[in-house]
Symmetry: C2
Subunit: 375 residues, 2 copies
């Protein structure tokens, strides 16, 4: 038996939000959880110690990127991702599917898999469900993903149906070759914007022996109501006793709306990416630290934040580090934005525990000035 188990601790009285405990091979995290992205076996500018300090429970790493550099064989020789990057917390890997469809050039897809050109050197690569699972087993993450096709939005019904059925067949092929006991494997629900396709996909995957379920194909350009419907259409048919992971979503409103609908896990590169461009999330809304008004502002980025950046430095110093392109600035800003979302999750869990998630969500959405990206 795999030592991987989701325990539903408490369901919010008024929404589908749920508080859970996820035992990941002896490492326990509470859900809902936001997972920082460490694309190339490093969350950009952060050390594993920094990750511990911000209470990052699970870290995500990208199979496609690690396959290309340094190659999964190097990581396997190192003793797996945990040893390679010196992170002993839980690590989740994606399947490479999203990167193949978003980064790589001139792809050709058929039943067998996808042929495409590397975004690094243009060389021809071939990824199949089996290959994705093999790479992930070599990387030895704690949680692996099935290989799926990420279709663009909008896609017509016929194409979405054919693609979703193939993604299900790919999920089965991946499941068939996955053979290590200390790695969980998730199925990914696709189906685009079509309720019946999401339903069919969720039902078929739920009947299989996956350790958890992901919701894919959102955040690809659809409007918010459509995205939230996609989530509902998938979650309705997913088992209560397994974790649900909404892939690639990290905007504050999306996180809260996802939690409200029963999502347990999220990841997104946006908090760290916008940090590196000087955009910081605070309890008073977003600020752009490069503005001249911060050059002599000797208050913390967010006085309510407990992170290394806010506890030790002023906006004036961060403004200076950003304008002079210093690495410490990148690090402190990344730490802050990640900690901001991780604290949001901590507060969300507390709200669920106290049956007031609805009020919590509405209070934040009402008070936080969002831009078009939801930050």
């Amino acid at each position: 038996m795999k030592n991987f188990k989701y325990e539903l601790v408490h369901e919010d009285a008024k929404t589908k939000a749920r508080l859970g405990k996820l035992n990941i091979f002896g490492k326990v995290v509470e859900t809902p959880i936001f997972m920082p992205v460490g694309t190339l076996a490093t969350v950009k500018f952060l050390s594993p110690e920094d990750l511990k300090k911000i209470h990052a429970g699970i870290v995500l790493s990208n199979t496609y990127h690690l396959w290309l550099r340094p190659g999964e064989k190097i990581v396997k020789q190192a003793g797996g991702l945990h040893k390679f990057m010196n992170y002993d917390g839980p690590i989740l890997t994606d399947s490479g599917g999203f990167q193949v469809f978003s980064l790589a050039d001139t792809r050709k897809i058929n039943e067998e898999g996808v042929t495409f050109k590397s975004h690094l050197d243009g060389s021809t690569l071939h990824l199949t469900p089996e290959k994705s699972i093999q790479i992930q087993m070599d990387l030895h993450s704690d949680i692996a993903m099935s290989f799926d096709e990420c279709i663009p939005y909008p896609s017509d019904y016929e194409y979405t149906k054919r693609s979703t059925e193939r993604t299900i067949r790919w999920a089965k092929r991946g499941l068939a070759v996955h053979n290590i006991d200390d790695q969980a494997l998730f199925g990914i629900v696709q189906g685009g914007e079509y309720t019946d396709l999401r339903e069919a996909c969720a039902k078929e995957l739920a009947a299989l022996d996956f350790d958890g379920y992901s919701i894919g194909g959102t955040s690809v350009g659809e409007d918010k109501p459509t995205m939230y419907k996609m989530i509902e259409d998938a979650i309705r048919y997913l088992p209560q006793d397994k974790p649900r992971y909404l892939m690639g979503v990290g905007a504050i409103n999306d996180l809260l709306n996802g939690i409200e609908r029963g999502v347990d896990m999220f990841d997104c590169v946006l908090p760290t990416r916008i940090a590196r461009h000087g955009t910081l999330m605070t309890s008073k809304g977003r600020i752009n630290i490069k503005k001249a008004m911060y050059a002599d502002d000797f208050t913390p980025v967010d006085p309510e934040c407990d992170c290394e950046c806010c506890q030790n430095y002023t906006k004036a110093y961060i403004n200076h580090l950003f304008r002079t392109k210093e690495g410490l600035g990148m690090r402190l800003m990344s730490i802050h934005n990640l900690r901001f979302l991780i604290r949001l999750m901590e507060e969300a869990r507390q709200a669920i525990r106290e049956d007031r998630f609805k009020e919590f969500k509405e209070e934040i959405l009402a008070s936080y000035p969002f831009d078009e990206r939801g930050f």
Copy 2:
């Protein structure tokens, strides 16, 4: 009375190497000491906590750079450099003299000071001995430097003599306007390669009320014997009870030869600069981490090193971080090279304590494969 005092703890039996304790306004460091350079109020990629972990005693920051960005008034408003950058260890600032002569364009020098163009935007700037001291008082470092002219090598005797005499007059003008009690002020011995000019300069400055003395104008292209002679020609006339600082020197052989001649303090950007290009100093000599042979080398950069990089990561991981241009790699490599030199200083102090500095130096010089830069 200034709470700034050099105590000579022990002199090596066979050389002029000396073990000292420098009390810097209540913060005590042992000498000889190597000081990491934090040009823009940050040692590139390192946090103050990282600096503590590698036992960096004193950190150097550059007056010229901070004058331009963020401006000394911002730092003053922040409460000084310590508060601005959140470093509570001792901070030394240079005078800006070296940068004016190495970075800035089209300078014009006269008795009053130097007029030149900013290396950032080409705007016309004017720096005088008084202005340099005013900036440093505003930055509120623990140790400030007199403004000096850094002449190129070689320079003819007549020019060197005129320049050195002007540097002495500049030192006196700086001393006259320096008026804060919790900042030490050092005089800088110039004189080029000319023994009599070094002697005259050292003697005249030694007679003035400086808290310590720097040796300037080395490491500007002269050969090693000339450099070591410059050091000897200056130190001979400097008081025993004040610290001596050899500016801008950090190559292993120069550090050891400097210590042997009675130098107490050193700084250099090279360890961090070469780290950012993948060159790491180890007990077996330099390595370039980007070489393909390290891609699957799962041993530490230096098994004898106690730094965060060597204790937690392999060459394979650092090679990966370097090749993928990840900030964590820059940080870990910088930490390693700095710790390497700081450990070398710790060992040098122990050798002096045990009257075996000569043997210590010869052992290292014989075993360490140097390149033309002395690394």
